[in-house]
Symmetry: D2
Subunit: 267 residues, 4 copies
């Protein structure tokens, strides 16, 4: 992969600033929130609690890529509007997934960071259009994407003018069925050693099991990632999507405490 923008170069690693938050800096960031934005009341409750425990960025899905067309598809722009309003009220930057090139422009009114989901990592039309905006992009790894393909996907965005790309490892598809995906922390180590992009980890999709999220969060941090994106909810069992991998706010709090201890003593 010679001479690509993603490559390690003489310059510094890319640091991405969103509001007061720096991704790729000295301190891992924590992004959290529900899989889906459900309504204003639930969202503001979640956001207030996450803000209080020190979460840096708020997530919430509005355009939901669901396997079945008959499953809840998200609130769309109504969801983004709620997310944006809530983000402002609690003073947190917000991130959400966009799936269609035609939605990008309007989404910029609401979002501080745009997420490209795993299912759209190879959607090169979307990536090229996202290369034309300035907002940071969280680029999830495709379900069966090689590290090399993933970096080329980042290159698609960067070569069109937007170098604010944050990679996100979220597990790959293997034969193993106990966990939803196989979290590939080797990939985190490779990215941090050889390339200059920030990388975060999604232990929620990376395991699919809420009881594994805390331990794999710490394991990800020690593998060198620049942050975590964790699905959380005030009532995890009642989350309208991905309940099985959604943790409580209290669990996020203990993960943050844990990270602080690691960081304090070890870096």
């Amino acid at each position: 992969m010679k001479n690509l923008l993603v490559e390690k170069c003489s310059g510094e690693n890319i640091k991405i600033k969103v509001g007061n938050v720096v991704i790729g800096g000295d301190k891992p960031v924590v992004i959290s929130g529900p899989c889906s934005v459900e309504n204003y009341d639930t969202m503001i409750e979640i956001a207030k609690q996450l803000k209080k425990i020190g979460v840096d960025i708020l997530r919430g899905g509005a355009f939901k890529p669901r396997t079945s067309p008959y499953d809840f598809q998200g609130l769309g722009f109504e969801g983004l509007e709620i997310l944006s309003k809530v983000g402002k009220e609690v003073d947190m930057p917000v991130v959400s997934e966009i799936m269609d090139t035609k939605d990008i422009e309007k989404s910029l009114e609401y979002l501080d960071i745009i997420q490209v989901g795993s299912r759209n990592m190879y959607n090169y039309s979307l990536l090229k259009e996202l290369g034309k905006v300035k907002v940071p992009i969280v680029l999830k790894r495709g379900m069966s994407a090689t590290i090399s393909e993933w970096l080329y996907a980042a290159e698609y965005i960067m070569s069109c003018g937007n170098e604010n790309v944050i990679l996100c490892e979220r597990g790959i598809r293997t034969f193993e069925k106990y966990t939803r995906n196989t979290l590939d922390l080797n990939a985190v180590a490779v990215i941090k050693q050889k390339y200059r992009l920030p990388i975060i980890v999604d232990p929620s999709h990376g395991t699919g099991l809420r009881e594994l999220v805390p331990i794999m969060s710490i394991s990800s941090i020690t593998a060198g990632c620049d942050g975590l994106i964790i699905e959380s909810h005030v009532y995890p069992d009642n989350a309208v999507s991905d309940a099985r991998q959604t943790v409580s706010i209290k669990t996020v709090e203990s993960i943050i405490e844990n990270i602080k201890t690691y960081i304090k003593y070890l870096k």
Copy 2:
């Protein structure tokens, strides 16, 4: 997958008519042409020869999803215009891949069949928009998509109003490196036994090696598929993309002869 449109039902299997060609009928169809539309002269030469040997439908890529942004990305609408013109001159229906919702409407001026590539099988925005047109859709299986996810992708299109979906098995990603992908003919047999959609096979991507295309074409036909889509070129070694898996027109001819023998004696 109870009560889905993709399911086997009391009604007949879906047959899709494009010009004089029936996909899902008694006779397997052959779709062929170059990976990329390169220019008018090459395209018309390829098309005339393919027409002569009995190929049913002409393919040619205009929007090319390439791993690297620095590789040839296709001629875009200029390519579709060439393909359409050539198709009319030789009297063959044409198929090409569309990757962006905003290109669908314009592409309808040129295409008889729209292809959803492997990288976009999970692009639900695209699938939903394709559910609103009437043109048949070739839906390639995602690189690591389960049969179930693939059928749900078809359901996305069908549930929006377009039941003209043709599945296309093109190999899945496994640990095996000798071949580009592992052609999953089990999947063909499953689809034909349990669901009512037509299914074709792409032995070019399914193997990645031109010398395997003829034998795997026949193996696919005997596994029960409704047709083949084969990358071919008048000068395979000079094809601007996927040369390693592109066969000569003469090879396509021998594949067609072979299929005829099988069909004659055995069905």
Copy 3:
């Protein structure tokens, strides 16, 4: 893989003669029988019926590698004795799996062909010992073995002196869950084009679903394999192991009829 015994060379492909049966010759062979040898009465009944419909070689498991230690582990040498007796009575060569180097010598009293199961393809101690006997070896592909590793496993046997190796494709492990394994017919085509070893296909393990066995048998034959190994039983539903993928004798008969038609007209 230069200069290996498995390589295609100036000499002819390897043909293996067992009794009156030739594996790797002009005509595909059919090996069939129950997953496990259960008792003499059932075995002789199965064997007589298989002999009558034209099956070439009789199979029956005596040493069974089961995932759980609490599942039926096979009758061991008692099973081999039954199999051998039955084989002689119906005049059919017999094949069964051996899992332990210390059992090889004794098994030679009973078996015409020794099978190395998928779980033991990397058991190099076993392979080396099997290289010291003269009996033909059916070498199943490991669950996640590359074609190259599989050929090296054959080379282990051949380099120790026994060139009578028959490869057996039985499906590889992938993310797909609908079928037990993904039958890799690309691998059959690769072996037949580039190497001189005979190769057979096991559509029973390769699909895990009895309803797919007949169609995938034919698809395997047209991919160029030299034969099939099919799990069958007089009462498939009552088979003590692998019932879900075991077919009736009648089904084996129709597969054989089908193969004959293909062979007659096409080769």
Copy 4:
């Protein structure tokens, strides 16, 4: 997996004592040494240095399962004899792989722990025989073994009478080619949460790249594993096998220092 010996139960987690070392106790153990025992002089030099930096157990391969029969196959019992002699001289317990049931008895004269390699995880004959000895067994996960199959492999040993089983995660086979295997730390977390067996991690095979070994060692420890097994050599580049993933003694030292810091502050 109800009512199996591997299950979490009312009793304590299994702790395995080897000399003065406890595996599965409060403190992670470090096992290290060369991929292959090469000769006495190199082995004693490596051992002395490893002892000095605090490595708990010495490893060294004597029976080497190599993909090609023409690659160095190890020194066999001569290698075990060297390893045993060296272990005694530096007062460290020793572990090495055994591949054949007929070698078990003799190997007990030399080894404190027997390793079952990845290629032999499904070798049930070997597992049953190892269930009849008392020496602890390191059971590596098969290349494409599910967690469930791996636990059943442990159950094979335990149900025959030997409960001293130490699981070893060493990476699984996926489509990713950058790393030799994909280290599955999810599996470590699952085992520690639900089952009572100790589990160690092999970051050498789990990555295949020496530059990833230190970071993945720490990531493994924070995922909860009970120890590490690391390939090391006084002259890593000259190691006769697996040089690309072999680290220097100095690197092992820094890993141990790192672990101590983590343990001191965090447990």
